[in-house]
Symmetry: C2
DNA sequence: TTGAAAGCGCTACCAA
DNA sequence: TTGGTAGCGCTTTCAA
């Protein structure tokens, strides 16, 4: 079907009544109020050093209101030479409840310190590429979850003005503050507990979902380390987060000859424990099961699930760390343990 | 222990070798490469219209590399007059698994369409205040979860250049595209199901956690509506997400004289069902329980939990909606049902 | 093939 | 008390 392409002007003539006028600037406000742009800036920012008469203030405010004027953050921070944006790249996997809660708190705390917190969804970029993309936004601080950042990335960020770079991860990155997430410690705690309960052939669930290796690998390593030299064994058990996968694993459970399992976290633990029970494997007699994260829901299953409780520090404390780092960018990067991992024994071990 | 505070200059003299030099600009690159800023821009952006000789290109690239030059996004979009930022204000409550997954998909899909997706954590701001804060960033599109935005807010955003404003919520907002989340439909489906199973005195759990009213109120209303005129009753049951609260509710269950309950979602349902069982209330004989969201974990409890499954559309489809809206900002706002709610009967009803 | 220069929207210095 | 104006870093038109 033949058609005619009509050129639609994307900035309609300002005479058109219903059309969206172009975005009002402070110059427009100044014009309408009959003052200079400088005055507009003074009034709207309530600059202390300069006194503007009350009638003028009113005129400016009225004009701004009438035009629906909103200042342009990019222009402002360009002029100012800095911003108060804290950038937090979104993790490569959808956030779990712990992470969601943590990010929420942290955002709140930083907001109260007058920072603007922004989660940046950068799909597919890796390593230094990603760092460059973040650096383009000229954040005053960057909080990077996971291992996506090397020393070169840190350097790129700092060179482009980031006054604080903070990483979450199992080990510190050169030049950045580090919040150490001791996943190995979680695995170690779980395996030690199983060992103490008399288990010698220990399975460790490793989720098959991509993106979780970051956490699962150190947890597995930690478990290995915990029983090293004791004669107990640790076996990696790949498991997808589906009932089918759990049923399949449970079906070959007896062949595996294991007597205890650290199931990565409470969700996988619930899934596996349930499948084991369906298979007639008794928990904890035939197989002791321990999870991690201490989800409330995990207390509802019977037997009640033992777990490694992970307590994260308050968002406020971390926000203060960031604030300190921003105020004193020269300081030597600090490393902090972020986790506090405690075994909570219930009925499944 | 006494200590001496040493004033560290935060912009060290550029002669200092190891100190962080000030952020390199395209002018620095130009200087180092011995060309003009224009040439730098041409080379780094690979401008098609202009041919730059190969040796010059190399010099520019080398210089940029050496300085660790990263372009300044704010300056660029200021000059360009527009950006490709899609702003998504973070919801006031920590995200649940459904929301996390959805946001993740959606971010990925928009990234592939070459947008920059940014979740903005704006603590405490409300209504038009919040809209103004978002507008300062001059996003090309804004996706607002929940009811935080009125027609005035939409107008503010559009006036400041947003070419698409999309709301998630139970009802459309004037001037914005709407993705309708039919929470009432969820409640309706659940209550209808309970009614069909012979229940006449129906409880509806209303979470006490602040910020959830947005979802719980329409779910309750939907349940009321479903049984309106049938002689069946609907009773709101406040419940905090703690074992204590659930135990307290279960303790007075017999006094309440209810025979069925829609428990807001699967998590509250699991909590309540478990408490009821501890109290000796038989499920489903004495009390039929239905949740919502179809969490996998809810299938693990016994009796297996009936639920209202909520399927969200793919992130890709929504990303395309946004893209279409951005390309054609004049179009009449569309409204779409976002939810597809289906009752899944298992053993608890 | 390259350079000079204007200007995006804003703030802050200096002058009136 | 107010206005003129420079300049933040960038792209792009026009001229050489």
């Amino acid at each position: 079907m033949p058609y005619v392409m009509v050129q639609i002007p994307n900035t309609p003539a300002p005479t058109s009544p219903s059309a969206p006028r172009s975005v009002p600037t402070s110059a427009d406000v100044a014009r309408l109020a009959g003052v200079s742009r400088a005055t507009v800036s003074y009034v709207l920012n309530d600059t202390g050093a300069v006194r503007i008469s009350e009638p003028t203030r009113r005129r400016v405010h009225r004009a701004a209101e009438e035009l629906g004027y909103v200042p342009h953050a990019a222009a402002r921070s360009l002029r100012a030479g800095h911003s108060r944006m804290v950038l937090m790249p979104a993790p490569p996997v959808p956030a779990g409840p712990l992470h969601s809660q943590f990010v929420h708190d942290f955002q709140g705390a930083l907001s109260r310190l007058d920072y603007t917190v922004v989660q940046y969804g950068n799909c597919g970029l890796h390593g230094d590429e990603a760092a460059r993309a973040w650096a383009e936004l000229r954040p005053v601080a960057v909080l990077v979850p996971g291992p996506g950042l090397g020393p070169r990335g840190v350097a790129v960020l700092k060179r482009s003005g980031a006054r604080a770079v903070v990483t979450f991860g199992t080990e510190p990155v050169d030049g950045a503050h580090a919040l150490l997430t001791d996943h190995a410690g979680v695995g170690r705690g779980a395996a030690r507990h199983l060992y103490a309960r008399g288990r010698r052939r220990i399975g460790v669930v490793v989720p098959e979902e991509p993106g979780l290796e970051t956490f699962s690998a150190p947890r597995l390593d930690g478990a290995r380390e915990a029983v090293h030299g004791t004669g107990a064994t640790v076996t990696a058990l790949p498991l997808a987060y589906t009932e089918e996968s759990a049923a399949a694993l449970a079906a070959r459970w007896r062949d595996l000859g294991l007597d205890g399992v650290f199931a990565y976290n409470d969700e996988y633990a619930m899934l596996l424990m349930s499948a084991l029970q369906d298979e007639g494997v008794r928990v904890p007699e035939d197989a002791a099961v321990i999870g991690a994260d201490d989800l409330m829901l995990a207390r509802l299953l019977r037997p009640r699930l033992s777990t490694v409780r992970i307590t994260l520090p308050s968002g406020r404390g971390l926000a203060e760390l960031v604030d300190r780092a921003v105020r004193n960018p020269g300081a030597t990067p600090e490393s902090h343990e972020l986790f506090d991992a405690t075994v909570v024994q219930r009925d499944s071990t």
